[in-house]
Amino acid sequence: METRVLEIRKSVLNKNDELARKLRTRFETAGVLVLNLVSSPGAGKTEFLQKVLTDLHHSGVRVAALVGDLETDNDARRLMASGAPVRQITTHGCCHLDAGMIERHLQGWELGELDILFIENVGNLVCPSNYDLGEAVRVALLSVTEGEDKPLKYPGMFNSADVALITKIDLAEACEFDRETAMANLHAVRPDMRIFEISSKKGTGMVEWLDYLADIQRSIKQDRATGEERKSLVAAGE
């Protein structure tokens, strides 16, 4: 008998990571932009998505949404009013979405027929941060009612996000919200983070947000075109 050291070098979450990588490839191949919305419960994810899905669907953008909650399909039913296809993921106790849940709930949807897929995660600033869903953009919502130091209290989550939305800005004055401090705190934990200020109810900030989505879609199309060009050059033996 002897003792041997075996290198593993695998993530503890390697099953989820592998599945997320496969999903990411599927999304990129199909040319669908996927966003993962994270926040504390009540920050305004559903209200925001209701507005965004309605606007985009009526503009002819092919959008869909997956929404996660422990219980009820209330959010899916709200979002379906937009006219876009929406599915509810009911976790019955799991506090975050994972790649497996996304894969299962996409069955039957033709990804190639979608332009944008929004995933509304379970309201939770802790657990979802570790679970890659294969998204292209992770969007963290922070409402003016939550306090400016939220990003410092949950650095893991805000650091993992690419973009932040400060929501419910129509209530900012009533909450004596310190905008500069909130932005400074977001940038303290994620220096290169793009920040949008939104009121879903009043529509404030929506134009900038929709422009941003259009920009990413354009660059996805460009990347695909370059990728296709590159592939055909490689195939031609150049």
């Binding site: 695998k10 503890v12 979450l13 802790v126 650095p155 893991g156 650091n159 993992s160 220096p191 290169d192």
Partner: protein
């Protein structure tokens, strides 16, 4: 956060590797946990014994290397280790940097096995 379910994942992965290597026993498991992973070392240690019970890992040692956040600083042209998770700025020149090189790990590094 989810330490028990994470440890069950560790046990599953380690058992698979140990069986592939025809090991008779797992002596120790080494994990690397980053400061941004949100995982608590003490909770992992606590859950380990419970999860390892009845498996090849029963009685084995869990070693956890805790890894601080490190960012790449452009002006200083080097990777800088940070003292915490509140401010992602170079400790030397204070330039903010979102280029994280270390700190998100939740990895099984290696295992020590008894083999015939």
């Amino acid at each position: 956060m989810h330490e028990l379910s994470l440890i069950y994942s560790v046990v599953e992965t380690v058992e698979q590797s140990a069986k592939q290597a025809h090991a008779t026993e797992v002596v120790s498991v080494k994990l690397r946990i980053g400061a941004l992973s949100g995982v608590v070392k003490d909770a992992l240690l606590f859950c380990y014994e419970i999860a390892a019970d009845g498996t090849m890992l029963a009685g084995s040692r869990l070693e956890i290397e805790e890894v601080p956040v490190a960012i790449y600083c452009q002006p200083c042209a080097q990777v800088m280790v940070l003292g915490g998770v509140q401010s992602f700025r170079c400790p030397t020149c204070e330039t903010p940097s979102g280029d994280i090189r270390q700190g998100r790990e939740l990895d099984i590094v290696s295992i020590e096995l008894e083999v015939p």
